[in-house]
Amino acid sequence: MTAAVDRMSEYLIETRDLAVSFGHVHALRGVNLRLRPGRITALVGDNGAGKSTLVKVLSGVQRPTSGSILLEGREHSFTKPADAHAAGIEVVYQDLAVAPDMSSVENLFLGRYLRKPGLLGRLGVIDRKRMRHEAQAAFDALGMTVQDIDKPVIGLSGGQRQGVAVCRASIWASRLVIFDEPTAALGVVQTEKVVALIRGIRARGIAVLVISHDLPQVLEIADDIVVLRQGRDAAELDPASSSVRELVDYMTGAKEGGRAA
């Protein structure tokens, strides 16, 4: 839950020449991504640029064809989602992030329930008290108030549900939280609240990767921007000195290269 202190590299997560191909289709052609602790990196790109594939690789769903993933300078191989979890990487998805009939508490521990100590735990009995306690602590830490954390999340608004998903990521992530279009389905007010939660995650000193189509939002919240085009990292930009126009130019290929950051 805390950021690693002994780092061999200034980057928490790094990818080198990451490539994924499905037969003749090259989804990724060599992506070099460097994610630093306590910074929000935005990943932008047109449809088909390879954003989803990159998320799949980093979350252990898709095996890369070539290239490597480094955790604090050391190479790791991800073959299944559990590997990414073990590496402290969590993803917040746009939809289907929570189980609607289950409580906020259970959603934070979905599939990773805490067990009672001793024999009962070995029989698979879950420890509701401890989960409640830790869930409340997680909500408090992010400054989020859920009216009744024991009620099914189906009764919450879309923004609140996304908040529950963000809190889950904050509990389990020790290195990186990836937000895959986290606010695409939300209204303006709810979006603001989720953005605040994203900043809350950054404040814990772990790396944050945000994938978004909302370019003004990207310019507002990101510390670094990486443009993905045709399966490559086409440019790295500093949001302070970039504009939406410039982002679009790099995304479409009107501008090339660029290491403004």
Binding site: A97, M102, G111, G143, M144, L156, G200
Partner: protein, 334 residues
């Protein structure tokens, strides 16, 4: 951190569901309907309906159906359907009866009969589960196939003739015996099964994952849990329960009653859904299912007593089932 986000009205955190909420739960409502139903039949013919002998009969009917309904609750919690309930019960009963009649009447024979019966059910369930979870065929289709396959195998094994030489000690002891006072053994076994599975659904990792599958399979998959293995295990467990029900049915009727389980599926699902379980998955109230089981059983029993053609029971139960699902839909759309 200096940003404070309030995504909801500030609350004190823990607000337990109020007494009013609990009284209006679907389970309580159902209990009320059940009491009303019993009152009507008692008023119509109190001598025949409200006597100890008749209630013992109702309990016996409820017992076997409860074991089936608990299995159906597990499957429905995952938002899946199992149409093969009745024929898996029959096949398990046939395999068990053939085993016991070959071995004669001994404790070992009865025990082995139980084991092969439960295993036959579990094997049918696992087979359905594998096709559903691994190959992605909808459970309603897979179990429709299993309905035919299990029934067919049962008929092949028996040439279509019921196996009648079920060990006498099973029938006299388990089938007709009382555990204490007027409470039959079958009811005690059904109660134990309901309590164990009910606790498992509420308080264990296995149970919560079962419900999570029905609520959002994708969310659970993304947590790194093997939803395929979980689904197969739940189908196998439900099958084992149908197998146990087959064994209990042998004890009760002293024959395999091959043709007598056509309405088991209807009765079981009516019980589960009336019990407040969503037909869309994500819930798992065994308590509700157990209360629900009494509805079709009391209706059938009561109709016979008040001289209404018992066929009406199926018509009424079928109608109630559809109405209950409609109400669930309305509530979900809220």
């Amino acid at each position: 951190m200096n940003e404070t986000t309030t995504l909801a009205r500030p609350g004190t955190g823990r607000t337990r569901s109020s007494v009013k909420d609990r009284l209006w739960s679907p389970q309580m409502l159902l209990l009320g309907v059940l009491v009303l139903l019993c009152a009507v039949f008692t008023a119509a013919d109190s001598e025949s309906f409200a006597n100890a002998m008749n209630w013992r009969n109702i309990l016996l009917d409820v017992s076997v159906l409860t074991v089936l309904a608990v299995g159906a609750t597990l499957i429905l919690a995952m938002a899946d359907f199992d149409l093969s309930i009745g024929s898996v019960l029959v096949l398990s009963g046939v395999v068990s009866a053939l085993t016991m009649s070959a071995l004669g009447d001994s404790a070992g024979s009865l025990l082995l009969g139980l084991v092969v019966g439960v295993l036959t059910g579990a094997a049918c369930g696992a087979a359905s589960g594998i096709v559903v979870a691994r190959f992605g065929v909808p459970s309603i289709i897979v179990t429709l196939g299993m309905l035919g396959v299990a029934q067919g195998i049962a008929l092949l094994l028996t040439n279509g003739v019921d196996v009648r030489n079920v060990p006498r000690s099973l029938v006299m002891g388990l089938g007709n015996g009382n555990a204490f006072s007027n409470i039959p053994w079958l009811a005690v076994i059904a109660a134990v099964i309901a309590i164990v599975i009910g606790m498992m659904l509420r308080h264990t990792v296995f149970g919560r994952n079962t419900i999570a599958i029905g609520s959002s399979l994708e969310a659970l998959r993304r947590s790194g849990t093997s939803v395929v293995a979980q689904k197969i295990a739940v189908f196998a467990l439900a099958g084992a329960l149908y197998g146990l029900a087959g064994y209990l049915s042998l004890a009760r009727f002293s024959t395999t009653t091959i043709a007598g389980h056509g309405s088991d599926m209807l009765d079981a699902y009516t019980a589960v859904i009336l019990g407040g379980n969503s037909p869309f998955g994500g819930m798992g109230s065994v308590l509700g299912s157990v209360i629900g089981v009494f509805i079709p059983v009391v209706l059938r029993n009561g109709f016979v007593i008040v001289d209404v053609q018992p066929f009406w029971q199926q018509i009424v139960v079928g109608t109630i089932l559809v109405a209950a699902v409609y109400l669930h839909r309305a509530r979900r759309r809220g």
